[in-house]
C-alpha cells in the first residue's frame, strides 16, 4: 500500500520534471548580467577564470558567509560528536584485520604528496584556469582523509588547524576592509596591481584571497573528517 503511494508521488514528480524538460528551450544567447561579467572580469579584474572572478570579487561577501557556514559546521559537528567523551572505543584493541591493507598503505605513500601538490596547484591556479580555493581545499582534505585511512593512528593537531584557519579568516576579513579603504568596497580586489592577463601573479588580490580560502576550507574539512573518525 505504502509502496503504491511512494510510486504515485514519484510518478507525479517525474511528470513535473518531464514537462519542465520538454518545455525547456536551450538558450542561444547570454543574459545581460552574464555578458557584463564575461567582459568585466578579464578586463577589469584581470582574472582569466570568470567564475573565480565572480565568486571572489563580485560575490565576495557571499563567499565569506559560505566560509562562515563551513566553520559553523566544523564547530557543530565537533559539539555533536564530542559530547559523549569517555565512551570512545579503544582503537588499539581492534584486531589487525580491521586495519588498512598493504595496498592502501603503499598507495597512500606514493600518491599522498601528489594529492597535496595538486591541491596547492588548484588553489593557486584559480584565477587562471579551472580551480580555486574551495575546490583545492576539498582536494587537500581528501588527501587528509586518505592519510587517516592509511594510518589510523595519525593524530590530527586540532589546535594547529584551528589557529591556521582563524588566521586565514582574519587576514581574509582584513583584506576585505583594506578594500573599503583603498579601493571600491569590501573585498574589492583592486587593492593590488592588476598585472598582465594570464600571468601567475596577476588579477589583484584574487590569488591571495583564493589561497586564504583554500587554507581555510582545507583546514575546516580536515577537522570535520577527523571528528567523524572518533
Amino acid at each position: 500500500m505504502k509502496r503504491t503511494f511512494d510510486l504515485l508521488a514519484l510518478m507525479l514528480f517525474g511528470f513535473i520534471f518531464a514537462t519542465v524538460i520538454a518545455g525547456y528551450v536551450e538558450r542561444d544567447s547570454l543574459s545581460a548580467l552574464a555578458q557584463y561579467y564575461l567582459e568585466a572580469v578579464p578586463r577589469d579584474l584581470g582574472a582569466q577564470n570568470v567564475v573565480t572572478g565572480i565568486l571572489i570579487t563580485y560575490r565576495g561577501f557571499d563567499t565569506l558567509g559560505e566560509v562562515a557556514v563551513l566553520f559553523m559546521v566544523a564547530a557543530s559537528v565537533g559539539i555533536l560528536l564530542a559530547s559523549g567523551a569517555g565512551e570512545r572505543p579503544d582503537e588499539v584493541g581492534r584486531d589487525a584485520a580491521a586495519g588498512p591493507s598493504e595496498l592502501v598503505i603503499s598507495g597512500a605513500e606514493v600518491i599522498l604528496p601528489m594529492i597535496f601538490l595538486f591541491g596547492a596547484y588548484v588553489i593557486l591556479n584559480g584565477h587562471l584556469s579551472a580551480g580555486g580555493g574551495f575546490q583545492g581545499g576539498a582536494v587537500v582534505a581528501s588527501g587528509v582523509m586518505l592519510l587517516l585511512i592509511a594510518r589510523p593512528s595519525t593524530l590530527v593537531n586540532h589546535g594547529f588547524l584551528s589557529v591556521t584557519e582563524s588566521l586565514a579568516g582574519v587576514v581574509y576579513v582584513t583584506l576585505g576592509i583594506l578594500g573599503i579603504v583603498f579601493a571600491g568596497g569590501f573585498l574589492d580586489s583592486h587593492i593590488m596591481p592588476r598585472g598582465e592577463l594570464g600571468a601567475f601573479i596577476s588579477a589583484g588580490a584574487i590569488p591571495v584571497i583564493s589561497a586564504l580560502l583554500g587554507i581555510k576550507v582545507g583546514a575546516e574539512l580536515s577537522v570535520v573528517i577527523d571528528r567523524f573518525r572518533s
Binding site: Y24, E26, R27, L38, Q48, V50, V51, L80, A130, F228
Partner: protein, 122 residues
C-alpha cells in the same frame, strides 16, 4: 545533432533527483536516507548547471582558446556555475551535520532504522 546538450543534462539531473526521492521514500535506514538526500542534491546541481548552458558554449575562461572579445559569443553563462559552487558547499555542510546526527542517534538506540525513533512521531 540529436538531442541538445542541456536537455541531456536536465534529464540526467532530474533522473538523479527521482532516484534520490525514491530512496528517501522507501528506505528505513537513516544512512540510506542521507544517501538519497545527497543524490537529490547532486541532481539539482546538474540541473542548475544545465540551465546556464548556451548552445555551442565553452567554459567561461578567457585564455588563448577564448579571446576576451569572443567571450560573450562563445562562453556559457558563468552565474549558475558560481551559484553551484555555493550550493555544493552548503550541500556538503548539511550532509556532514546529518551524518553527525545519525551517529548520535545510533548511540542512543543502537540502531539506524527510523522505525525505532518514535518519540517525535505525530
Amino acid at each position: 545533432m540529436g538531442l541538445p546538450v542541456s536537455h541531456i543534462l536536465l534529464a540526467t539531473g532530474f533522473l538523479l533527483v527521482l532516484i534520490g526521492l525514491w530512496g528517501l521514500l522507501t528506505h528505513r535506514n537513516i544512512l540510506r536516507i542521507i544517501i538519497g538526500f545527497s543524490l537529490i542534491d547532486t541532481g539539482l546541481h546538474i540541473v542548475m548547471v544545465a540551465s546556464g548552458y548556451v548552445t555551442g558554449g565553452t567554459a567561461p575562461i578567457a585564455d588563448k582558446a577564448l579571446p576576451i572579445g569572443e567571450a560573450t559569443l562563445r562562453a556559457v553563462d558563468p552565474v549558475p556555475s558560481a551559484l553551484v559552487v555555493t550550493a555544493i558547499v552548503i550541500g556538503f555542510s548539511v550532509t556532514a551535520v546529518m551524518l553527525a546526527f545519525a551517529i548520535r542517534l545510533y548511540d542512543a538506540k543502537k540502531t539506524l532504522s527510523i522505525d525505532a525513533f518514535t518519540e517525535s512521531k505525530w
